[in-house]
Amino acid sequence: MDVDIEDILAELNTDSTAVDQSGNPFSDINNNNNASTLYNESSSYPETNLKTNATSTSIPSPQQDYNNLIILWRNERCAPELLPYPHNLMTRMLSRIQEQMERLEIISMDFLGQQHSTTTTDTTGNNPVNNNNMLPLLCMEAELERIKFVIRSFIRCRLSKIDKFSLYLRQINEENESISPLQDFLSKDEMIYYESHSEILLKLFNDTILKHLPPNMQAINDNTGTVPMIDEPDWNKFVFIKVIGPQNKIFNTDPILIKGDNGKWYYEVIIPELQERVELIIDSIYVMRYKVIKDLLMEGKVTLI
């Protein structure tokens, strides 16, 4: 499984290198120009998952992107279903990682070229001046590792859900292709993974059991009058949420936000099974059924914790 993830990351990385090669990677200015055209292209279609800021035209800063990635990662880990893939965010993130890796390489090569002493690459070098110079490099490397960790964990989590729900994904894809095409839901590489995985799975079912059964019982999902046989995500699973409120923090602009008597702002949700109304106060923490808060989650008004 590790190999798969590495492959995906590697492929995504090489993709972004291909774009970078048009500019001179050794010049900062060129690199930045290059990156901004990349963002503009990708921001032409709207980010479905998280509205990063009020003005959709401007490019989110690296910090915003990172913070959003952390939120998306935590959401993905806690949610019972597979959440949409943040195409734009990930494209930006991966191209930044690529850039940063090249930058680090140049910097460390400079060090090697400049220093003739033997302790060059030793970050704990005895020479204090050397140590000071190495500090940015050290921090940048540590930061890069942290970002890579989040992305790996994020993708691993998504792959495990793709494994789990591969038949379900196939089913919704066949049923309503126009509503939520899988291509939006999964990244290009996840799509490849998903397709081959579900093919293998179906073949296994078929070869081991189904083909030995009477023909009228061979369907993978036989729900004539009874229960569907394909695993769906548990929509009512309880999740821990934190109520965030509108992205811009201007409470008046959110039509579904209500101001209570005590001056607290809240969203009102209804639990259909119990016919119960619940007030979700901003900044509070709740344990809730996933289905009840799914819409708020998609708008980024609550996060899973």
Binding site: Y66, I70, N132, L138, T226, F238, V287, I305
Partner: protein, 244 residues
């Protein structure tokens, strides 16, 4: 497979620490990056590149303009990194003093059914700072540790007493820390899910039939009758069982 079962339920303690380390904290730098940069600027171009901070997760300017003993704000992990290189002192947050913790303790004791407004990462931050920045505290650490321990216990007791109010509807848990939530998550979620199923099976059939239909019934006849049962056993039945 791609994500160990343990991590599917909740976050690991290391991951919690990772999340917390993205928070900001104030430091006193012991180095001046500002001046050094100007110097190297005049020296040559290559040097400039080397001392540049180009960060992806934060504003690099805070790092480029560090001045000795002038407080600045950086993310916790970076503060710890600088601390390890003895390049900074961490400014201990106000709540993490004997006085601050004492106030919280009093609040916890006075309000039996509430949690004091400690920061959401209090347990993690205090633990990290005790370990890695022990020399930056003004108060004796063992006293702080005692109070943290007291707080932890008194809050844990409240949580345990609160467990009897678990229901099938929802739960509000204000001011509970991330580590406390993480610890409770598997238990609370499992219990509430079961309560939900028990409650649902007491309801008329039509309402539940499509909500709880996800259990892959091996026996069609049983499926509609015992929804909760098929649900519980669903993990041991193929297709899940064979692949995972």
């Amino acid at each position: 497979m791609s994500l160990p079962a343990l991590l599917q339920e909740t976050f690991s303690p290391e991951e919690v620490q990772f999340i917390v380390e993205n928070q900001k904290i104030k430091i006193f730098p012991r180095i001046t990056t500002n001046k050094r940069r100007n110097l190297s600027d005049s020296n040559n171009e290559g040097n400039d590149d080397m001392s540049r901070w180009k960060m992806l997760t934060m504003d690099g300017r805070a790092l480029e303009t560090m001045i000795v003993m002038k407080s600045t704000e950086v993310t916790l992990w970076l503060a710890l990194l600088l601390k390890q290189q003895s390049k900074c002192n961490i400014i201990i947050p106000e709540w993490l003093t004997v006085r601050g913790l004492e106030l919280m303790l009093q609040y916890e004791k006075r309000n039996v059914d509430r949690f004091s407004a400690l920061p959401w990462d209090w347990l993690v931050v205090s633990e990290i700072l005790f370990k890695q920045a022990a020399d930056d505290f003004n108060d004796p650490i063992h006293e702080l540790r005692n109070r943290i321990q007291d707080l932890k216990e008194i809050r844990q007791m409240k949580v345990l007493q609160g467990l009897k109010y678990l229901n099938e509807s929802h739960l509000q848990l204000d001011n509970l820390g991330i580590l406390e939530i993480n610890e409770l998550r598997p238990f609370i979620v499992t219990v509430m899910d079961k309560l939900r199923l028990i409650h649902a099976s007491g309801q008329p059939d039509e309402e539940e039939s499509d909500e709880y239909g996800e259990g892959n019934a091996d026996d069609v006849g049983m499926g509609t009758m015992l929804n909760s049962d098929t649900n519980m056993s669903s993990s041991s039945v193929p297709p899940n069982g064979t692949m995972l």
